[in-house]
Amino acid sequence: FPADPRATKEEGTQLVQKYLENYYGFKKDGESSVWKINSPMTQKLKEMQEFFGLEVTGKLDPGTLELVQKPRCGFPDVGG
C-alpha cells in the first residue's frame, strides 16, 4: 500500500519509534529517543534498515516510512 502522504515528520518519528520498540527492542527513555547521529534510536533504525535490505541511512526516508506502515507479523525481528 502506498505510504500515507499525510504523515508529517513528527508523526513519522512516532510511527518509526513505535515500530522500533515493537520489533527491534528499542527502549524509549528521554534522551535516547531523538535523531542524533549515534543516538540509540538512530542505531536501531539502521539495524531495521539493514534487516529489510533498505539503504542504511539512519534517517526517516520514504522507503523506511513506507515499510513501517505495511502489515506484518507481530513478533520482533531481532532478539525475539
Partner: protein, 379 residues
C-alpha cells in the same frame, strides 16, 4: 533464515494442534482447512506430523483475539501487527494468536489466513524472521504465490531444525495429517493412488485443478507435488456429492457444476443466487438429462459438453448452442466412448475415460499421451 536464541524446537515428530476459537470472518470449515493447509506447508518438507485436537491441551493452540489478550504483546487494531506466535515450549510455547481486528479471508482480499498462519507456524516450530524478501518467514505481509509458498531459505531453516521429510513416495503417508486415535473414525477416504481410480468430474479452479470424487475433491496445483483432499461441503455446503461434470470460466472467475439435469454456478466460495437451474435453460434439447463432462476453452470462447459419444458446444460470441450434437471422435480424434471428466491445462486437454487418462493436444488436434488416472498425484 534464523532461529530463536537457544534454538528451541520440538523433540517429537507428532505435534497436536487445537483451534481454540474461530473468527466470524470465515466459516469454521474454512478456518479448519486454512490451518490444516498451513501446517502441511511445513510437514511436506519435514518428518513432522500434526494431530488436530478438538478439546484439551495441545502443543500449538490457535486463537483469534483483538487488542490485549493475556500476553505481553497486545494487538493493535486493523493492519499493523496481524498475528504472532511463540517459539516451541511448554504452556503457550508454540501457540499462535491472530488479530481479530483483521479481515481474515481465503483470497487475496483482506488478510489471507492460510498465508499468515503458515508464517506463524514457522515460529511455532522454531524459526524466527528471515531477511530474505521472498521467504515465507519474512516479517512483512506481501503478495504471495500459493504454489511456491516455501522459499529455499525457509526449507533450509526448518530442515536445519528437524531434518528433511522421509521418502515422499511411501504409501502410508497418504496425508500429512494423522487422525487422533481417540477421536471417532472417519469413513474410508478415497485413495488417490489406487490403480482403478476414476473421477466424477475435473476442472481448473483459480490456478488449481480440482478432481471431484463422491463427496470429496482433490485440489492440486500444477506446480506443487502434493495434492490436498477436502470435503466438497467444506467449501460449498450446498453442492451435492457425486457431481457429473464441472468447468471453469476463468475470465469470469466462475465454476459451473452439473449433477443430473441441474447445474450450479459458483464464484469463489459462494454459489450464485438462483441456482440450481435446469440444464435445458442452457439450450440443450429436452432429451438431455445428464452431462458426462465439460470444459471451457477460453481462447475460443466455447464451452464443450460431452454426453455419451457426442458433444454439444456453446459459443459465447454467438450466444448459441449447437443445434445438434456432434460425434466426439470427429472433433477429438482418438477420444472414443463415454467421458468421465475432462479439464484443460495449458494447450492440452486431459480426458478421463474409465481407468484411462488421455492427453490431447488442442493445437495439433491429436492424442499425445496415454496416462494413468492418478498421473497428477505423487504416487
Amino acid at each position: 533464515f534464523s532461529t530463536f536464541a537457544g534454538e528451541p524446537k520440538w523433540t517429537k515428530q507428532v505435534l497436536t494442534y487445537r483451534i481454540v476459537n474461530y473468527t466470524p470472518d470465515l466459516r469454521p470449515a474454512e478456518v479448519n482447512a486454512a490451518i490444516k493447509k498451513a501446517l502441511s506447508v511445513w510437514s511436506s518438507v519435514t518428518p513432522l506430523r500434526f494431530v488436530k485436537k478438538d478439546r484439551g491441551d495441545a502443543d500449538i493452540k490457535i486463537s483469534f483475539a483483538a487488542r490485549g489478550h493475556n500476553d505481553f504483546i497486545p494487538f493493535d487494531g486493523p493492519g499493523g501487527s496481524l498475528a504472532h506466535a511463540y517459539a516451541p515450549g511448554k504452556d503457550f510455547g508454540g501457540d499462535a494468536h491472530f488479530d481479530e481486528d483483521e479481515t481474515w479471508t481465503q483470497s487475496t482480499k483482506g488478510t489471507n489466513l492460510f498465508y499468515v498462519a503458515a508464517h506463524e507456524f514457522g515460529h511455532s516450530l522454531g524459526l524466527s524472521h528471515s531477511k530474505h524478501p521472498d521467504a515465507l518467514m519474512y516479517p512483512v505481509y506481501r503478495k504471495f504465490d500459493p504454489s511456491v509458498l516455501l522459499h529455499q531459505d525457509d526449507i533450509t531453516g526448518i530442515q536445519y531444525l528437524y531434518g528433511p521429510s522421509p521418502n515422499a513416495n511411501n504409501d502410508q503417508r497418504e496425508s500429512t495429517e494423522i487422525k487422533d486415535p481417540t477421536e471417532s473414525k472417519d469413513p474410508e477416504l478415497p485413495n488417490s493412488c489406487s490403480s482403478n481410480l476414476t473421477f466424477d468430474a475435473a476442472t481448473t479452479f483459480r490456478g488449481e485443478i480440482m478432481f471431484f470424487k463422491d463427496k470429496h475433491i482433490w485440489r492440486k496445483h500444477p506446480a506443487v507435488r502434493t495434492a490436498e483432499l477436502d470435503l466438497i461441503s467444506s467449501f460449498w455446503p450446498l453442492l451435492p456429492p457425486g457431481v457429473d461434470a464441472a468447468y471453469e470460466i476463468p475470465e469470469k472467475d466462475e465454476m459451473v457444476v452439473f449433477k443430473g439435469n441441474e447445474f450450479w454456478v459458483v464464484k469463489g466460495d459462494t454459489i450464485l443466487p438462483g441456482y440450481p437451474q435446469k440444464v435445458y435453460t442452457l439450450g440443450f434439447s429436452q432429451d438431455v438429462i445428464k452431462i458426462d463432462a465439460a470444459f471451457h476453452n477460453g481462447n475460443e470462447g466455447k464451452t464443450y459438453f460431452f454426453i455419451a459419444d457426442k458433444f454439444w458446444s456453446y459459443d459465447k460470441r454467438s450466444q448459441s448452442m449447437d443445434r445438434k450434437p456432434l460425434l466426439i471422435r470427429d472433433a477429438f480424434p482418438g477420444i472414443n466412448g463415454k467421458i468421465d471428466a475432462v479439464f484443460q491445462h495449458e494447450s492440452f486437454l486431459y480426458f478421463f475415460c474409465g481407468g484411462k487418462q488421455i492427453e490431447f493436444d488442442l493445437d495439433k488436434k491429436r492424442v499425445t499421451r496415454f496416462l494413468k488416472t492418478n498421473f497428477w498425484f505423487p504416487c
